[in-house]
Amino acid sequence: MSAIALERPRARTEAVRRGIGRVTLFVLVGAALWGLWEGYRWLWMREGWTWPFIVNDISMPHIHSIFQALFDHARPGGVGPRLITILVEAALFTAKEAAVGFALGALLGFALGVLLAHFRILQRGFLPWVVASQTVPILVVAPMVVVWLNPKLPDSLKDWGSVAVIAAYLTFFPVTISTIRGLHSADRRALELMRSYAAGNWRILWKLRVPAALPYIFAALKVSATASVVGAIIGELPSSIQDGLGGQIINYSQYYTIQPKGLWATNVIAAALGISFFLLVLIAEKIVVRRAPENVA
């Protein structure tokens, strides 16, 4: 008892040290990538190399000038709101679509996974169609969803509601596949134990199969979290929503030749949104999934 009690605080400082190490590594890799970009840019410009593309301020702006652009006024001449204000507002709008889509897709994906895992016949019959649903390009699905749903949606959901559905479409698939896999991952002995307690299927599901599946499900949720952001951005294009990051991307790609930093800055914000979704799932996983340290993915 005392031995383990003594190990506790040491484990905590260990964890803190590991955390610091990880952040340092992240920063170092970031710096290395920065160096790579700037080094490539410098070398290609000095030698005047044109393969695979000509390097100049349009094709590869300085990294610092991209970040600088975030704090410039959006319109030339130093008027109007700063670019970052516009982009963060757009990101929040897209985040709403993606979050609702993610929640919808995760719930649907989990429910479908439970259903397919429980009924083998359904699994055999439906799984190929679930897979097929993901081979249809999202650019084909998106406009159809908008055409089908928009007329039916109340004003409060109009447009962004359809985009959320598109994000959900990209979210549910990994969750379904991993749920099926995870539910079947329960240890054979653990199942025998439940049988020895005369536990019914429903209680085996909630007390054993679902907890056993959680690491698998969270692995899928991490993939889905970023996919839902991509889904929301792409979904905004056919529904011609101007308020989100999709609208901004269209906007700035039109002005790329005059103002390349705008598109790059939008990319930075879109990436930041995807990363924050991922981190939120990671934090939720740390809270929900209790496993031996070596068994956590």
């Binding site: 383990i4 025998e192 049988r195 020895s196 307690y197 005369a198 209680r203 007390k207 907890p211 031996a292």
Partner: protein, 260 residues
């Protein structure tokens, strides 16, 4: 009345006969070990008693009921070679699992968990997770879980097989203490002759192909057993007797193979 009654049980796995013509009656308060080489069907027999598998023919009754009904009534607790603890539950919650399934209320559960932690001497570890415990401690949690709902029968499938010799001997002592305290009947599957002799009131010797009972040896060592029991002449006599019975079972086996 017998707690366990096996009548003419045969178990067939495809072409293989795992068990043939098994008859065995175990009385209340007995500690019976099933011993034999791999493939003699000792674990299969234990699973039939627990209704985790069904015999091809013959009957298994527990507490005068068909094994299936006894399982539904939660008449037995089971311990496997691996502790099979749920990683996502603390020690206390692992022990409480069968109580949750039996719909005990929270207060009763907490009181019982505390009692079981004391029984297996794991007080203070209730909020640890399984991976923070040693193998021996994990197995003690598994025993506490199996006994938490006061089953009249405890089924143990090589529970200490994965532990080192020192831990195994300590847990043997502890198991005997728990057996005396709980007054339950124990069916214990093992590979170890010394373990079987030390723990049991009766040792059932089995032989393979097809799995059958080749001998039943009454271990008339005085109760309660202590560390000194392992050094008594009678202990060695019984160990020899079980060993010879095991080899005899093998000889029969070889003769059968030769004549086939």
């Amino acid at each position: 009345m017998s707690v366990v009654e096996i009548k003419d049980v045969t178990k067939q796995f495809g072409q293989t006969t795992a068990l043939r013509g098994i008859d065995l009656a175990i009385d209340e308060g007995e500690f019976v070990s099933l011993i034999g080489p791999s493939g003699c069907g000792k674990s299969t027999l234990l699973r039939i008693i627990g209704d985790l598998i069904q015999p091809t023919s013959g009957t298994a009754t527990v507490n005068g009921k068909p094994a299936r009904q006894a399982r539904i009534d939660r008449d037995y607790g089971i311990v496997f070679q691996d502790a099979v603890l749920y990683d996502w539950r603390t020690v206390a919650k692992n022990i409480a699992l069968p109580l949750e399934l039996a719909r005990w209320d929270r207060r009763r559960r907490a009181a019982k968990v505390k009692e079981m932690l004391d029984l297996v001497e794991l007080g203070g570890f209730e909020s640890h997770h399984p991976w923070q415990l040693s193998g021996g401690m994990q197995q003690r949690v598994a025993i506490a879980r199996a006994l938490s709902f006061d089953p009249s029968l405890l089924l143990m499938d090589e529970p200490f097989g994965a532990l080192d010799e020192m831990t195994r001997e300590r847990l043997n002592m502890e198991l005997l203490r728990i057996w005396e305290a709980s007054g339950s009947t124990v069916v214990f599957v093992t590979h170890s002759i010394a373990e079987a002799v030390f723990l049991s009131t009766r040792v059932v010797v089995m032989s393979p192909r097809p799995g059958r009972i080749s001998d039943v040896i009454l271990t008339d060592l005085p109760q309660p057993r202590t560390a000194a029991t392992r050094e008594e002449p009678r202990f060695f006599e019984l160990v020899t007797q079980v060993r010879e019975a095991l080899h005899l079972g093998h000889d029969v086996d070889h003769k059968l193979e030769a004549s086939a």
